[in-house]
Amino acid sequence: MVNAAIALVLAPLAAFILIAFMTRRTEALSAMVGIVAAAASLVLSIGLLVGVLADPAGAHESIKWLSIPAIGHFRGLEISMGVLVDPLSATMCVIVSLVAFLVMIYSLGYMKGDPGFSRYYAYLSLFAFSMLGLVVADNYFQTFSFWELVGLCSYLLIGFWFEKKSAADASRKAFITNRWADFGFMVGVLLLFQLFGSFDFTELSTVIPLAKGGAMLPLIAALIFIGPLGKSAQFPFHVWLPDAMEGPTPVSALIHAATMVAAGVYLIARGFILFASVPAVMEGMAYIGGFTALFAASIALVQKDIKRILAYSTLSQLGYMFMALGVGSMSAGMFHLTTHAFFKALLFLGAGSVIHATGEQDIFKMGGLGKKMRITAWAFTIGALALSGIFPLAGFWSKDEILLASLRSGHVGLYVLGLGVAFMTAFYMFRLIFTAFGGASTEGLRAHESGPAMAIPLLVLAALSVVAGLIGSPWFERAFGFSFGSFIFFGEGEKSRLDLTTAAISSLVAVGGIGLAWIMYGKKLIKAERVAAAFGPAYRLLDHKFYIDEIYGWIFARVMLAGGRAFDWIDHKVIDGLFDGLGAATRATGRKLRLTQSGRLQGYALVIFGAVAIAALALSTDLLGGLLK
């Protein structure tokens, strides 16, 4: 099991090296290498999942990577590299390698003819390696290393078309925003080691429950929590994700919808024992998640760019996951991660298909695409239905789990908020569909169905979006004796349940959202412009994304630069002055001292002789009867 896990991580790395150093010139071969490696990872991951299903205990193996013995006050440092296979990591491996594999096939069509084709596959392979390495890591240190690696890949792929200024800026924004968050993560991990002397997840899970009281543990949990906030783009670190849409669309599907942004959720699930032991952090997590869900969904209501709508939707869904984790249901969070990975990847790939065909991203310049792109339109609609939580598609089951979990843990406010988000989600998704796919064709818009390389992944993901939710349904549990909640859980396994009341309420809300979208954008009974005009200030606020970017821009342009100028002054006047003064003092001393060098050899000879005479006298005081004593 461990060997399979190592192999499935290393296969994409081998592909990356092969592409980077050997097959870069031959594009078809590069794509082939990447796809074969991803397929190998996928097969091994499925094998792993089957193995873990049979034996939920999984496997854990690690080797010492760096070992510094204790010296004096220094308590020593032991860092190990290991592989942890359990239901959580095996499930995540399958999600990552499956989506990576499909995206690579899809990219055959989408990236065809791009000058950086081989480089693209090299980056994708590197990302697959980093992400899988992150998933199977057995300690915080290793997780952090791979965490940074996925961040790097994200940077490289957002800025894939780096000759475009907006893409280069977006990649830097993503990298820098994540850097802030990762700093918190790093400090948290170091403090964790300071407190417990271990990075290992398994070891920590036995030690942490015994640690009682103290301010350290909440501080550590809060610091480590900042890392996921950045990577999963939760408020206030969310600003990088919408801009990350500058990258190629399949990249958005793989990295910025299905896998990397879910790494934050995964990390919290992985170290859930740490967070669960600090109720304050859990509450904060739930409310930040809930707030982000509402906040991002409301922005998505008015966006016009197809990818940005999906990006804000991703933010909002990640907020749902944080909310689920925060109210203590790791099962619900991970379940939503799983289903979301499928239908959001599907939506992004569908959007990519549209963009590829029309070269247009503004949904109001599209229209009538449904007739020209039947497969894409159907797949996209399935994805949107799944995202809106329509029975019996994937999103229905996982979203209901979350709403139910927040209700059962007594967070009625969050439940209501979640319902509101569900309404908005259904509305903005079907606003997109009715505008872009429905209605009359826009004149001059050329569109055609994409080729099989792009259609097949869409179909596979559409199928998964339909059935993936069933693994968390009561019927699945009745038929096979287990379900998602009894497979991946924290504490006690959760039974799948279908609370008819909550299910009915959330379904009604979703249908209501779709209905409103149909009235406004399908039938155009209410003019959207008039609604926008009626809510003028609110509309402008949403259209400018709550001015968060502007606020950050102000902070960086004013506060940071003012701080920078102050430090610049200190550096130039105080510190430089100190060292310039040292130099000046040295020169002045030298100018005086050099007068002693007359250049007259006879003078030197006299000094030498005098010195030797004094030395001789000093050494011979005994002989001279204590003359100098």
């Binding site: 060098q597 250049g599 006879q602």
Partner: protein, 102 residues
């Protein structure tokens, strides 16, 4: 009867006279002569200790012979340099040789 002390005092006198010549004279040839006197003072010391000490081998004399030989070579080189200096500057005043000064 002449003893070791007589020789040592003579050697010290020679050395000091030579030293004063080497340090105080302005003429390069005179400086060179002073250095020679110092060397001979040292030579006298060596030979005297060899004569009055109880040594199986005449090491002191061997040293003295070496110093005489080296001094001869030194004089040859030094005179050549002084000659060149004289041709270049028209005198042999050591005070003019300030090339090592800052």
């Amino acid at each position: 009867m002449l003893g070791l002390n007589h020789y040592l005092v003579l050697a010290a006198l020679l050395f000091c006279i030579g030293f004063i010549g080497a340090v105080a004279k302005r003429n390069a040839i005179a400086v060179l002569m002073g250095v020679e006197l110092m060397l001979n003072g040292v030579n006298l010391n060596l030979v005297a200790f060899d004569r009055f000490g109880n040594h199986a081998e005449p090491l002191g004399q061997a040293f003295a012979v070496f110093i005489v030989a080296v001094a001869a070579a030194e004089v040859a080189v030094a005179l050549a340099m002084i000659l060149t200096l004289y041709r270049k500057r028209g005198n042999t005043n050591v005070d003019d040789l300030e090339g090592l000064k800052w």
